[in-house]
């Protein structure tokens, strides 16, 4: 039970940490809507932007994963379905991580 409590605490801490990141993302979307492709590419390929994307990805995936697993523990009671969904969720987040890393590589190259 101690580990579940720690995960819950980390879930809460990650939500606090994500707040400025989400605010920055939404502001960036508004800013980018007024920029050309070249300007967006220039902004996004900066060291800080890449650092921001990577930290956001790690925090976001952790928060989403713990949150969805909590919902599953509450509502999915069949062990087989639970296991299957866990595999699907893990695959989804692995896919997201891979695509973010791939996008960063393509932006940098």
């Amino acid at each position: 039970m101690a580990s579940a409590r720690n995960i819950w605490k980390l879930h809460k801490y990650s939500s606090i940490a994500l707040l400025p990141f989400i605010a920055y993302l939404l502001i960036s979307i508004l800013r980018f809507s007024r920029l050309s492709y070249e300007q967006i590419l220039l902004e996004i390929s900066g060291t800080w932007s890449i650092f921001f994307i990577l930290i956001f990805m790690i925090l976001g995936i952790f928060h989403m994963n713990t949150g969805i697993n909590e919902i599953m523990d509450d509502y999915v009671h069949d062990p087989k379905v639970h296991k299957l969904l866990k595999i699907l969720i893990s695959s989804f987040f692995t896919g997201i991580s891979l695509f973010v890393c791939l996008s960063i590589l393509m932006i940098l190259l």
Binding site: L19, L30, Y37, M64, G67, I68, F99, M106, I107
Partner: protein
């Protein structure tokens, strides 16, 4: 798997607080799935100008635009509702009436922020 079972939604009497709690979870799941859309945009930037312009033009489709508006609402509501949950964790706003007021406030502010976000995005304001 040994945790207590949550109430079964189909036999549970709807209340403001439970409705907002379920909406918090739904908005969280939708925002998680919506992260794919942000990654598609990011990937399209990496793939080049033509792909980026194609993705932007697809975004202008009415159906896609409606999905994006719904997603932005979910993100705003999830942020505000998360702040509400964090305040509860520190012992603030636990009174039933206060919880109802903060819940409806989160919902209303999320609607206002969504409208403002899209108006700014369209250059109206």
């Amino acid at each position: 798997m040994n945790s207590p079972l949550s109430p079964h939604l189909q036999i549970y009497r709807w209340q403001t607080t439970s409705l907002l709690s379920i909406l918090h979870r739904i908005s969280g799941v939708v925002s998680s799935l919506g992260s794919m859309i942000i990654i598609i945009y990011l990937l399209s930037i990496g793939l080049g100008e033509d792909t980026f312009k194609l993705v932007i033009s697809i975004s202008d489709n009415v159906f896609i635009r409606t999905v994006l508006i719904g997603l932005s609402f979910c993100i705003f509501f999830y942020i505000l509702s998360s702040i509400r949950h964090l305040l509860w964790d520190y012992g603030y706003g636990l009174d039933l009436n206060v919880a109802k007021i903060t819940g409806w406030t989160a919902l209303s502010v999320a609607v206002i922020l969504t409208i403002c976000f899209w108006l700014i995005l369209y250059g109206v304001i």
